[in-house]
Amino acid sequence: MPEAQQNGVDAAIGILGALAKAGGVARGSDLARDLGIARASFHRICRTLAKAGIVVVEKGEVRVGPACAKFVTASAAALVREDARREQRARGRATPTGVPLLSIEPEPPLLLSPPVMRRRSRRLRIGFSNTSMGNPWRVALVHSVEHAAANLGEEIEWLRVRHAGGDGYQQVRDIQDLLAEGVDGLLVSATIPNAVTDAVASAMALGVSVVLVERGVSADVPHTSFVAADDAVIGRTTALWLAETLRGQGGVVLLSGRADAAPAQLRLAAARETFARFPGITILEAEWTDWERDRARRAVTRAIGRWGEAISGVWCDSGQQGVGSMEAFIEAGYPDGALPPHTGGDINLCYKLAIRHRVRMAAMDYPPAMGVRAVEALHASLAGNWVPRFIDVPADVILSDGAATRSVRSSQRIADHVRWDLPDNLILGSGLGPSYNPRAFRIRYPGNVYNRSAAPQVPL
């Protein structure tokens, strides 16, 4: 007889586990046989459990007893308490005010990941493997992750952040190091999806929860959740706004980010699909700019030379190109109010230029707040909860005054969104509230030193 079954407590635990698996009711003789418990012992254990109301024994069947309803009540109360804690942590943070929705968006079913089983009595060890620290957006993402970790307070033992410098091999080593250091949960922003696939799968196989943030891996690689802004929604919404603003007529220039970056590919594909629904819209040029402002400015300067007044609008997948493009029009002598409508967002300067030069603009900030959401998803999974396999961090639709179209309404005005008091290169949409200033950002959480952020200072 196995050792576990020599003990009445283990036998009782076995009975309850088998009963849960069987959907709440099973024949007593089947349970006793399957668990290898002597009939007399089985009945004695069941009688004791029945006395406490945990099971009911009736006509040879064992079923869940009325006392188990209290487990549901306790679980519901715990859910409400955790929800209140989440609200408390979110206090002071900016959250999107509207529900961006277009009728053409697909409607996938909600998919969930089961929790990772772990010992709860130990505090959480969280690792963040970040692709690189190359630009202000990534600084804001790291700040967002640190802010969320700090809000978990004593629940975490440490948060450790590694930057891979854009090197896929380095990122694999970073993930392996974090696993060796004993992380319970990992946040990964993948440099190159294929390069980190095995490392992510290995982490999951070890029982470590992995939440991907902003840049994921292929959908068939095991992971707990992927937290990102829906790039297709960003591309589709901004393109729809531009097409409707132009009343379905005119030539547009498309300025995308990096050809090898999934977010840029998704936004461009969605924008092209949307423009294709307007036969009067002609795509004059489409350029990859590597999200570099100067490349965007040079591309638009060339386009102005070639197409001149035929450019009716400029679609940009981020504010870097938006800034470069508006600067090119200004340099070409376009007076205020005469620049064609633009899309963009993210960067403070993009909004400042749009207001100063009276450019009609639509923007959806790519939100670094996904860092906060990723930590929350990881925390939920490690606390034993199911979590959505994809979490879309919504972005506000930000429009110039009077720029709403039939399908695209603003959830925020540009004039309310811009920060005249903060640097031009400030990334908005961090979700860290109006007092957030990356230059003065200090944070305290278990694992960091002297309240310093893991993100190096990037000049703004």
Partner: protein, 159 residues
């Protein structure tokens, strides 16, 4: 054997009725030897029937709650049901609840200050249901988003 099982039943009952109670408190009150109580607790944790927080408070584990849901005839709903509520609240900001027949199994309040007037919007699959409270002054866009998200969540209600 019976005393060990009685101690186990006491721990399970206490964790359901008194959130945050500790093993030591239950042991002291019920006359269970501390070492026995902690040994049983370790076994309950390993089986997923109990959890212990960093402060030592004990609570029903996922297997125990699954037993409760099984008692209501919807064992598959534990886990996915609660996750759906959190997701609905996150995406819509509305109060949400799910249940089976007349029994509400879990509910979350609306985000921030609850709206004064609301109307329920519910989807059902068999006896199971999930419901949100839509503010009376919700925009057409928000109502459409609500319908859409409920449609996305309804598949979780079936086994």
């Amino acid at each position: 054997m019976t005393r060990g099982v009685e101690a186990l039943a006491s721990l399970l009952t206490a964790m359901a009725e008194e959130p945050g109670v500790t093993v030591a408190q239950v042991a002291g009150r019920e006359g269970i030897a501390r070492s026995t109580a902690f040994d049983i607790m370790r076994r309950l944790e390993a089986a997923g029937l109990a959890t212990r927080g960093t402060s030592g408070g004990i609570a029903p584990g996922p297997q125990a709650v699954a037993l409760g849901f099984a008692g209501c005839g919807v064992p598959w709903l534990h886990g996915p049901g609660e996750a759906a509520l959190v997701w609905l609240k996150d995406t819509l900001g509305m109060a949400a609840a799910f249940g089976v027949g007349e029994t509400e199994l879990a509910a979350l309040p609306a985000r921030g200050q609850a709206p004064r007037a609301t109307r329920p919007m519910r989807v059902e699959a068999g006896a199971a249901w999930i419901e949100v409270q839509v503010p009376a002054d919700a925009s057409e866009q928000l109502v459409e988003a609500t319908k859409r998200n409920l449609r996305r969540a309804v598949a979780l209600l079936t086994a």
